[in-house]
Point group: C2
Chain length 437, copies 2
């Protein structure tokens, strides 16, 4: 049988990785897919840039639209990133009856509903395993491997840059800014790190995971997002003293009132496996009603880990290249006409436990004042620890708070921050047990 012809949009890190994996493992892949898979055309912004892959045999152009719509291409792989041009190219490729594989989490999170509807009408596949958690086959696990379950919740370390920074802060006792600068020098963080450290990238990925888990349309604008840039070494150390790691998690949960979607720093009991996933690694913990908790971990980024997922998608697509679309796995796990309209819960209505850290005057009565405000909101305290704050005349008061709705905690924090004995604002970090023991 003739090789399947792939048109590649983008020849950067992941594009080159994809060419390298397809070339190196050509035989192995063909033995699995039943057909060889070949990149025959590729589009790159600059044609005379040195490449990290061998492009001989590939027809290069700087006209991405030409590749996306070329009649001699079976599958288009979109690896240019961004949303404007990528959307245009992907929609055009679908228009021309091409199957699409993309690593573009922003595109799927923001425009996925529209892309999938267009693909459904045209009867083509759109695969995006590489858009979430790099090489970890988490989309496949959630969408197919756990298809018998009602997914109750999932929690993921889905941004490697953020996890690297937290791990280094914890292990080396170094400041956020210091570690970030190093991560930038090492190429783990972008010059503008906002997408990673403020949780936007994680929110894109969480949007996708939540829809696949619960069967609702993609709703990026409803994800609550808080970054890691305010975390201090003190918080990491106090958390460790209390038996917790701090991880930047994307969390989706199905509750009685609807779906929670949130990205924020989270205290996780250090006995959990996911609390020990360090450095640039990613991991996703999924709780299904039948299977219980399952964990998936591995490289969440990088040329070949991401290419691994791109090629897995290609093999899936190739297997069904001319198959009746009815046999395909639905884009968002659930049949398009069976998506639910579960509401997304406002953050004020979300219930979690909390870690609070505040700088207070070291005198009698302060704790009583704080406790009174908490009690007024019906909030109960699990633990209180007082610590010398480094180089401060005040002390750190650290509290663990039992589960309560965010709205009540917001009200209590406003009250506490108004107390004269409190210096500055209160650091509030959510706590999730991620298990039942």
């Amino acid at each position: 049988m003739e090789a399947v012809r792939v048109g590649l949009l983008g020849l950067g890190t992941v594009g080159s990785g994809t060419v390298n994996v397809l070339t190196r493992n050509r035989d192995e892949i063909a033995r699995r897919a039943g057909r060889a898979i070949e990149v025959t055309r590729a589009a790159a912004r600059s044609l005379d840039k040195p490449r990290a892959c061998d492009v001989s045999g590939i027809e290069l152009t700087d006209d991405a639209m030409q590749v996306a719509t070329s009649p001699d291409i079976d599958v288009v792989v979109e690896l240019i990133g961004g949303t404007a041009q990528a959307r245009e190219l992907v929609m055009a490729a679908i228009d021309h009856g091409k199957h699409v594989v993309t690593a573009n989490k922003a595109l799927i999170a923001l425009h996925g509903n529209e892309v999938f509807e267009h693909a459904r009408v045209k009867g083509v596949s759109v695969a995006f395993e590489s858009a979430v958690a790099g090489g970890i086959p988490i989309i496949k696990a959630l969408r197919e491997g756990l298809a018998g379950n009602q997914i109750e919740w999932l929690a993921g370390i889905i941004n490697g840059t953020g996890n690297y920074i937290l791990t280094e802060m914890q292990a080396a006792g170094r400041d956020y800014a210091d570690v970030l600068a190093e991560a930038q020098a090492l190429g783990y963080a972008e010059a503008d790190p906002t997408f990673d450290v403020e949780g936007i990238d994680a929110a894109h990925k969480l949007t996708i995971l939540a829809s696949i888990a619960f069967g609702h349309p993609l709703q990026f604008d409803k994800v609550f997002t808080e970054g890691i840039s305010r975390l201090t070494i003190d918080d990491l150390h106090y958390a460790a003293d209390l038996g917790y790691s701090i991880k930047h998690l994307g969390i989706a949960r199905r509750g009685a009132d609807g779906i929670e979607m949130r990205v924020h720093p989270t205290l996780v009991p250090e006995r959990r496996l996911i609390a020990n996933v360090d450095g640039v690694l990613n991991a996703v913990l999924v709780q299904g009603d039948a299977v219980g908790p399952t964990l998936y971990s591995g490289a969440g980024a990088g040329a070949e880990p991401t290419a691994s997922a791109v090629v897995a998608d290609l093999v899936d697509v190739v297997r069904m290249l001319h198959g009746d679309p009815v046999h395909r796995v639905p884009y968002l796990a659930f049949q398009p006409d069976a998506l639910s309209d579960l509401p997304v819960v406002r953050m004020e209505e979300v219930e979690t436990a909390y870690y609070l850290r505040m700088l207070v005057e070291d005198r009698p009565g302060v704790l009583a004042d704080i406790s009174t405000i908490l009690a007024r909101e019906g909030i109960s305290i699990e633990a209180v620890v007082q610590r010398e704050a480094r180089g401060e005349s005040h002390v750190h008061l650290v509290m663990l708070i039992h589960r309560v709705k965010e709205g009540r905690m917001n009200a209590a924090l406003a009250g506490i921050e108004a107390l004269p004995a409190i210096e500055g604002s209160v650091m509030r970090i959510r706590v999730e047990s991620l298990g039942t023991d």
Copy 2:
């Protein structure tokens, strides 16, 4: 569309779990699969036994062959276990054009080649996700999620009973026999625990994982198998002192000379995530050339975790119920005509590092004698520790040995055990770093 009609063979723990999951999550499953899935017939050995599931609406019989071949059944789910009757039923179901889902690792490991060939001829699916690592979708991850990779090796905790026993021995400092008795009382271990503790069950599962990873026919008889029944608390503690956990691993590796398949207790650096997978949990660590290491963990047994995998297989099968078999994922990941004939390496030729523990007379010259024998075989020592043996006049000599072929180690051990200063036999446990740091 009409519901897909499932015939269930076996209404024990997993069978009841499957009925319960299919009933409870009926809507959710139909929204994913595009069709409802219903158990319409079931076979049980005894018809008036109380069930752990609601069987109203299911036609019960004690004639399993009747269910397996019934004209009004679309998919047969085999959950009776064992190999003789199960093989007969599965072959008959295939004969009658039924798709088959089975949780039977022994059946697949021992008769899979024949079963798959028959199914290929008849154009039906045989799915067996639940046969390995219970609810963890490891078959799907290996077979599809990592399809772009050359798999270099995999290592799995694939027997929950064994892992429970080792975890308890380590945590509570209790003897093997003591913990085994407790595991039997709790229902984690069978009255005859041989299959679990001697590694036969793990060898069945490893046989399947290795074939899917490397694309060779199933070869259970070539798996090297060593159980955990000889391990002592001392070994667990000495290993911990050296920075290792002892796990009962199934390991498959592709080397220059062929495939290694082995099940044995293994020292694993405790910084590895898999070294921290405790209790009855399972986990599989897979090293792919593109993706690097990925880990999958979760419940490896139990009614609903296993049912979770059975139902996932059902959804896959239902999706392709009347699809052209060319669109299906091959049984063993690789197309049947593209399976390789890679040889399996004899255990004597396998290279690993080692932990040795021996009871020796506490006098000068003993270490020199041992070192001389090791040196003669070209074996180099990484570390030596001497420990007081509990209640013994001799001392424990514990050694870590650099990587060397098993044949050489066997020769050295024969020499060492012949020394007059050595009491009894040497405990030899293989050591695997399972990583590059």
